[in-house]
């Protein structure tokens, strides 16, 4: 099973190819350039380097949101174009689950946070359980303790307090909210190190293998990102109509 993983949901642009549990290659950058200029040249580079025949891919795993609206759409339109041209299905991997999977096997709770502006974070909380059959391989998805959502950072910290377990934070929300976390987080916590604290397409592709084996794919035509938030114009319109009632 050969899966192409793509993630352009945040500051990082990343592409990776896995084949039956082996990472054949990954290209990840976190630099000023726009994803629109970097993502496909990176994939082209990776394809040449690992002599990838695109027709041998089984599916394209795409980081499906939440995240930067524009970043998500660059990734989604790229995946949809590839899916259309190659006649391959897509696998939608939630952004925060992809991030959490960087720390697969962690004993602590894993809490990815992404800066969602307006003092909010896109976040979720996961834990990694041992395989029920006692096997040593991770075949299960991370277990969702808190489903992905947009919430106030203070609200998240009070939720973690209730869970009362050690937690690891990661994601581009960490540098933005580290002060708040240091001050207000009442449970033991740590911040993930550089190689696993941001989006990585290898995690998207590895999760993609699990989703694919469970038959969880969508057609390229049907895929669209999950934004978790309406557009500003829609929000304002709803507020206006709520006030007028």
């Amino acid at each position: 099973m050969k899966i192409l993983g793509i993630d352009s949901s945040g500051l990082v642009a990343s592409v990776a190819v896995t084949n039956d549990g082996v990472l054949l290659g990954e290209y990840t950058t976190n630099y000023k350039k726009t994803h629109s200029q970097t993502l496909l040249p990176m994939l082209d580079e990776l394809k040449k380097m690992i002599e990838l025949d695109l027709s041998t891919l089984d599916a394209i795993a795409i980081c499906a949101g939440p995240g930067s609206f524009t970043g998500l759409r660059i990734g989604s339109a790229t995946a949809k174009g590839l899916g259309l041209a190659l006649d391959k299905p897509l696998i939608e991997v939630p952004t925060l689950e992809g991030l959490a999977y960087n720390l697969c096997g962690s004993n602590a709770l894993v809490c990815p946070i992404m800066d969602a502006r307006r003092n909010q974070v896109y976040t979720a909380v996961y834990e990694f359980e041992e395989e029920p059959d006692g096997s040593l391989e991770f075949k299960a998805l991370p277990r969702e303790v808190l489903a992905q959502t947009a919430m106030d950072i203070h609200e998240l910290l009070s939720q973690l307090e209730k869970l009362n377990r050690k937690v690891v934070f990661l994601g581009d929300g960490v540098p933005v909210f580290s002060e708040v976390i240091r001050k207000e987080c009442s449970v033991p916590f740590s911040f993930a190190p550089a190689h696993v604290n941001a989006q990585r397409a290898a995690s998207i592709a590895a999760l993609g293998e699990i989703y694919y084996s469970q038959g969880k794919t969508v057609s390229a035509a049907a895929h669209q990102p999950t934004y978790l938030r309406k557009s500003q114009a829609e929000r304002e319109k709803e507020e206006r109509s709520a006030q007028s009632v």
């Binding site: 524009t70 339109a77 174009g81 190659l86 557009s231 500003q232």
Partner: protein
């Protein structure tokens, strides 16, 4: 010469469109998913809503265009895509999609200028039309008077200093309670009104005889409406629409015909959404006939944003050897003639 068949993709504003075009002039398919209904309740295009809809619809639109043309990707010679000007988030959907298809198929990619597309829409139904000629491009976002020197060679000799012509239509339509989009609604209501009922100004721009200015006209309409309200007079909306429209058309016609004469051409074309305005067409038809100028215009379906026009423009860039890389980016403020 071998036939060149291109898949063209356009997503610069609120239409998700794809087309298959042969040799720049033969449209094998032309699929447009219009989002107008979605944006009507906001009184104009909401960029984030438009971008989301593009992602949702783009594959269906492309697949439909290929099916309608009876081709598959392997029958094609390249992919043309609008990369500017337009709404950046909207443009990025088409650009990312087109690049991915190009990458997966190995088909060459050609980034196309949206306005060049509008101009080239004239080639589709007028097989004999060739440069040089003067073209007026008027739409919700653009008002340009362009000298088309050759295929892919343009000189903008006039542009709007403030509002685009279509923008003025939208704003006046809103002021008289017609709603969005303003162009077709004013065009329709004008037929019931007297275009000489109210003397609205025809603005001239001092420094450049070919430039336009529509904000003064728009203000004059708003002032007139306010005046009526203060005096307690009832507004004849049809007369306002007709008189406003006449003022816009007079300026567009005068500037355009002046340019055609000054540059000693005998051909003139219009393009863009405003070019489907029936009164504008009639005014140009009459004036061009009187002046001995051949007048060209696309059918309304090729005036609105569409991908067939991008396929037409893309063809002429393709045969000149223009190719875009996988790093092609959306350029919201792209200038005509720039790469």
């Amino acid at each position: 010469m071998k036939d060149i068949t291109l898949l063209a993709i356009e997503s610069s504003c609120d239409e998700t469109a794809a087309a298959v075009v042969k040799n720049g002039r033969e449209v094998l398919s032309n699929v447009i998913y219009s989002q107008i209904a979605l944006h009507t309740e906001y009184g104009g295009v909401v960029p984030e809503i438009a971008s989301r809809k593009h992602v949702e619809k783009i594959n269906q639109v492309i697949e439909q265009a290929l099916a309608d043309a009876g081709v598959t990707l392997t029958d094609l010679d390249g992919i043309a895509v609008t990369y500017g000007p337009g709404l950046v988030g909207a443009l990025l959907v088409g650009v990312s999609e087109a690049k991915a298809i190009s990458f997966a198929t190995g088909l060459p990619l050609i980034g196309v200028h949206h306005i060049e597309g509008h101009i080239c829409a004239n080639y589709i139904e007028n097989k004999e039309l060739e440069p040089p000629f003067v073209c007026l491009v008027a739409s919700g976002g653009h008002s340009h008077l362009v000298v088309v020197k050759d295929y892919g060679e343009y000189e903008i000799i006039g542009r709007t200093r403030d509002d685009a012509a279509g923008e003025a239509f939208d704003k006046v339509a809103r002021a008289i309670g017609l709603g969005y989009p303003g162009g077709p609604k004013i065009d329709k209501l004008s037929k019931e009104g007297n275009p000489d009922a109210i003397a609205f100004p025809r603005a001239k721009v001092d420094e450049n005889e070919y430039d336009f200015s529509f904000s003064g006209l728009k203000s004059a309409v708003l002032n007139y409406l306010n005046g009526c309200q203060m005096k307690g007079e009832e507004v004849n909306r049809a007369d306002v629409a007709a008189s406003f429209q006449k003022a816009v058309i007079d300026v567009l016609v005068e500037h355009s015909i002046h340019a055609v004469k000054e540059y000693h051409f005998d051909k003139f074309a219009i393009a863009g959404g405003v070019a489907s305005n029936s009164s504008l067409r009639k005014a140009f038809e009459e004036r061009c006939a009187a002046e001995g100028i051949r007048f060209y215009h696309p059918s309304p379906i090729f005036c609105t944003d569409n991908a067939a026009m991008i396929g037409a423009a893309g063809y002429y860039e393709f045969v000149k050897g223009v190719r875009s890389g996988y790093d092609l980016n959306a350029v919201p403020g792209l200038k005509l003639g720039e790469r």
